[in-house]
Symmetry: C2
Subunit: 216 residues, 2 copies
Amino acid sequence: MGKAAHTTRRRILDAAEKLFAEKGFHGVSVREIARAADVDVALVNYHCGRKNDLFETVFLRRAEVLNRERLAMLNACRERAAPDPPELEDIIDAFTHPLLTRSARGGAGWRRYFALVAQVNNSPELAPIGMTRYFDPLVQQFIAAIREALPDARDEDIYWSYHFLSGALTLTFAQTGRIDKLSGGVCRSSDLASVHERLVPYTAAGFRRLCKPDKD
Amino acid sequence: MGKAAHTTRRRILDAAEKLFAEKGFHGVSVREIARAADVDVALVNYHCGRKNDLFETVFLRRAEVLNRERLAMLNACRERAAPDPPELEDIIDAFTHPLLTRSARGGAGWRRYFALVAQVNNSPELAPIGMTRYFDPLVQQFIAAIREALPDARDEDIYWSYHFLSGALTLTFAQTGRIDKLSGGVCRSSDLASVHERLVPYTAAGFRRLCKPDKD
DNA sequence: GTCTATAGCTTGATAGAC
DNA sequence: GTCTATCAAGCTATAGAC
């Protein structure tokens, strides 16, 4: 694979990422992607296979990078706390920090990628493939860490708490601008620093309330 | 409009609701909807206009019912507490209870409708139309009630807290089955009673933690 | 209200020349 | 690796018969 091929392929993946994030898998045609990448239609097939493969490649490309970063952060906070289990807040931070930082400062490609993840997470058609396959193995490791941090919690409460965190996090990534209008400009979808500052205490408080041992 | 027309139109709307919820706006063709409704393609246009109009009709149909119910519950809990402001937990319950009850016990149509809302809420293409237009006027009334319940909170914290609640709630409605696999069967996407029991305390704890007056 | 027929496009995918 | 050309299929939307 020569250098030209490599950048052509990249241009296709970048264009696909952008358009899939904006309009969803079915909302975009291969021709539209080719046009946005300034590349001939036939080259999309040549470099990235069929539309389905293209989508999976786009989805997987950055998932691997992210999962490595998040796992490294989890292990770091485990070591810092050892031999005690890590604090819940630190675990949640290890889970969300790499994402919010990339979305805020990683450039437009990353921002769009997260908007795509948000749609996939809420799609009955795509979530069972995309999220379960590419993210849940990592999530299991975080669940295990939370179990250590909250030793009296029941599994059901931990899983549901994670579920709520996942929903809050991915809606943030969707960057729909809804909160901008709702708040009359007080909050901005793009202000991920404000989100990060709030999401960790918000969800940690939720976890603790649900997982209190004296609950029932 | 005769009786036959009325039920034909209903069959079309029901079929559209189901398919839009499963595969999104672009993932479904008008022909597919006609086939599912057991109706001629031309009748879809005759009764429901173009595809865009059909989508908006489906989206609006149940939004109106829901918003009436939620507003009635909010006013009821306001009156119960008067002259004091209502409790935060009661406000959140008024916001979520009608939805979770309809989704759990309203039948398949309602369940599918909520899955559709989940996708719209996370779509940069559709959220600015669907959510902002049809739901945010009601949300403003809930925000106002929360402002009274937490008089020392800053607006930013209230809006972001609402945003997290919205994400957690709509991901629940998406019914993707992701949590079923993740939890190895301990939790089920369809078990909305378990969600309702947990979502109110979880999000209320988050609100309170973020909106503490001694925060900064 | 319902159906047949069709106009006029766009779609995903590839075969074959260079 | 790239582009031209093309296919068969599907699409939205409507006109017109009944």
